[in-house]
């Protein structure tokens, strides 16, 4: 059994071996390659964006009769009415903050609950075997079908929306953390067994640190789902603080499609922001050591 990651560098005998680390490419060469890397990564999506906007405008101006243009208003109308009309912009921004705030509370609860459940399941094979089928089953129930029930049970308040966030974002965290807790290798376990370390110690010093990357993969997925959950909650309940869900419903009723598109854009921006937030947090936590 050989580890593919190993490569023999000149290893100094008993002398300081600090300079053994691989060669550092010249700063200039690196900068040039980084620039070309950015270009390679940026140009294709930019092309797709331009094509998509082109099709949008084409449909709006050429295919749609002016009387039916509200179905797909031109992009500049959307931007102008949503973000450069002061009243609408203020409302949208307020909805954005409410959604962000409640979604993050829901996500925080999911993170704590999800990690705890995964740890409990990891402690005993029997607990895992008894819980797992129901987790899968629960995952297959469309949350949309549960949302009205949650409203009946808990009222149409912010709390119910947070519950929807938790329900929709819990599973990926449990699944990914469970997977991560099993990622420590057999020889790593031997290290601890050799010194008769107990399970609490192994959890703290082996299983949890090894699980961090997978755990954060779960957080990233769930962050976006939590935003979706909050909007779905607001959309259904139509009560409590005004969020993007309530706004979307309102603009649908008013047939105000330009600002409806504006709220969809705001939702998408929020989704991307939370995804980036957890990508960044993950890098902060394990970026230094992850191979």
């Amino acid at each position: 059994m050989t580890a593919p990651s190993r490569q023999g560098d000149p290893a100094a005998p008993l002398a300081p071996a600090a300079e053994e680390i691989g060669p550092v490419p010249g700063a200039a060469g690196q900068r040039r390659s980084r620039l070309s890397l950015i270009l390679v990564n940026a140009i294709p999506p930019a092309v797709v964006f331009i094509v998509a906007v082109g099709i949008w405008q084409l449909v709006s101006y050429v295919f749609l009769d002016p009387s039916r243009r509200f179905l797909l208003p031109p992009l500049q109308t959307v931007i102008d009415q949503s973000f450069f009309t002061s009243a609408n912009a203020t409302t949208l921004l307020q909805g954005f903050w409410t959604t962000a705030y409640l979604a993050l509370i829901g996500l925080a609860i999911s993170m704590v609950l999800g990690v705890l459940i995964a740890i409990v399941m990891h402690q005993s094979r029997y607990i895992e075997r008894s819980l797992y089928p129901y987790l899968i089953l629960f995952q297959t129930v469309p949350i949309l079908a549960l949302v009205p029930l949650i409203g009946f049970w808990l009222g149409f308040s912010s709390m119910s929306r947070i519950v929807v966030c938790v329900l929709i974002s819990l599973f990926p965290i449990i699944a990914n953390t469970s997977f991560g807790l099993q990622s420590a290798t057999a020889p790593q376990h031997d290290l601890f067994r050799l010194h008769r370390a107990g399970r609490p110690r192994m959890l703290r010093s082996l299983w949890l640190p090894a699980a961090l990357p997978a755990m954060f993969a779960g957080f990233r997925i769930s962050a976006g789902l939590s935003v979706v959950g909050e909007i779905v909650g607001g959309f259904f309940f139509q009560k409590g603080p005004t969020d993007l869900g309530i706004l979307i419903n309102t603009y649908v009723d008013e047939l105000n499609t330009p600002v409806l598109f504006g709220s969809v854009i705001m939702s998408a921006i929020l989704g991307v922001l939370v995804f980036w937030l957890f990508t960044g947090l993950g890098r902060l936590v394990y970026g230094r050591w992850k191979e």
């Binding site: 023999g8 000149p10 300081p16 020889p187």
Partner: protein, 278 residues
Amino acid sequence: MMTVMFARGRAGNPAGQGLAQATPGESARLAFRRASLTFPDGTEAVRDVDLEVHRGEFVSLIGPSGCGKSTLLRIASGLLEPTSGEVRCDRSDIGYVFQDPTLLPWRTVEQNVQLFAELHAMPKRERAARTAEVLDLVGLSGAESKYPKALSGGMRSRVSMARSLLLHPSLFLFDEPFAAIDEINRERLNDSLIELFGIEKFAGVFVTHSIAEACFLASRVVVMTRRPARVSAVVDVPFPYPRTAGLRFDKEFVEITRHVSSLLLESHLADSREASSS
């Protein structure tokens, strides 16, 4: 805290009574008595191994790869128990260097080296002093705050050695620790190991399938057969420690390596004959 443990085989030892006259050295740091191990799936890995290793002695186990040498080390360390026969070994201070460096990637070099100190609750001040000492011994001073991903294969092996050295082991088990490292670096690591052996005076057991490595390190080379592993021959390597790199070119030393090589071939051929006749 020198507690001597007797790990008795689960299946008991049919020849247990006869052991009294076969125990010349109660002082042995590690002793196998007719130790055998058969895995639950029926694979016989080790058969009737008798072996003693004393403090200040360095024994190399050599044999074809996959023959069960590593299993023998796992038995010595207590990670596995023999299914019959006995293993006498004080498990309170064993150093065990695995085939793979097995570093924890989320810990720096220094934190990796301190792992066992944490598991045994060594006082902080002693921990810091001993860490600096072992890192210096393996030539890693200055790399304390690096993460494993920034280290070469050779450096990782050194961290793994330093980690095992931390608790002053009196028995050191090496499971082909340098198998994946190129020849030049492997020789350098062997030079370092010999130097360490001179300083720390442990009992060493080194599993390898490199004849040159086995002879250079060991005071005794034990040639093993193919699976199930049995002792097929024992060769003394009567050169004093500390040994230096130049020994590799000594005429007498080369002769010994040639001898070990022929023994290994013999045992290999005998196995093949046995396999084809049965």
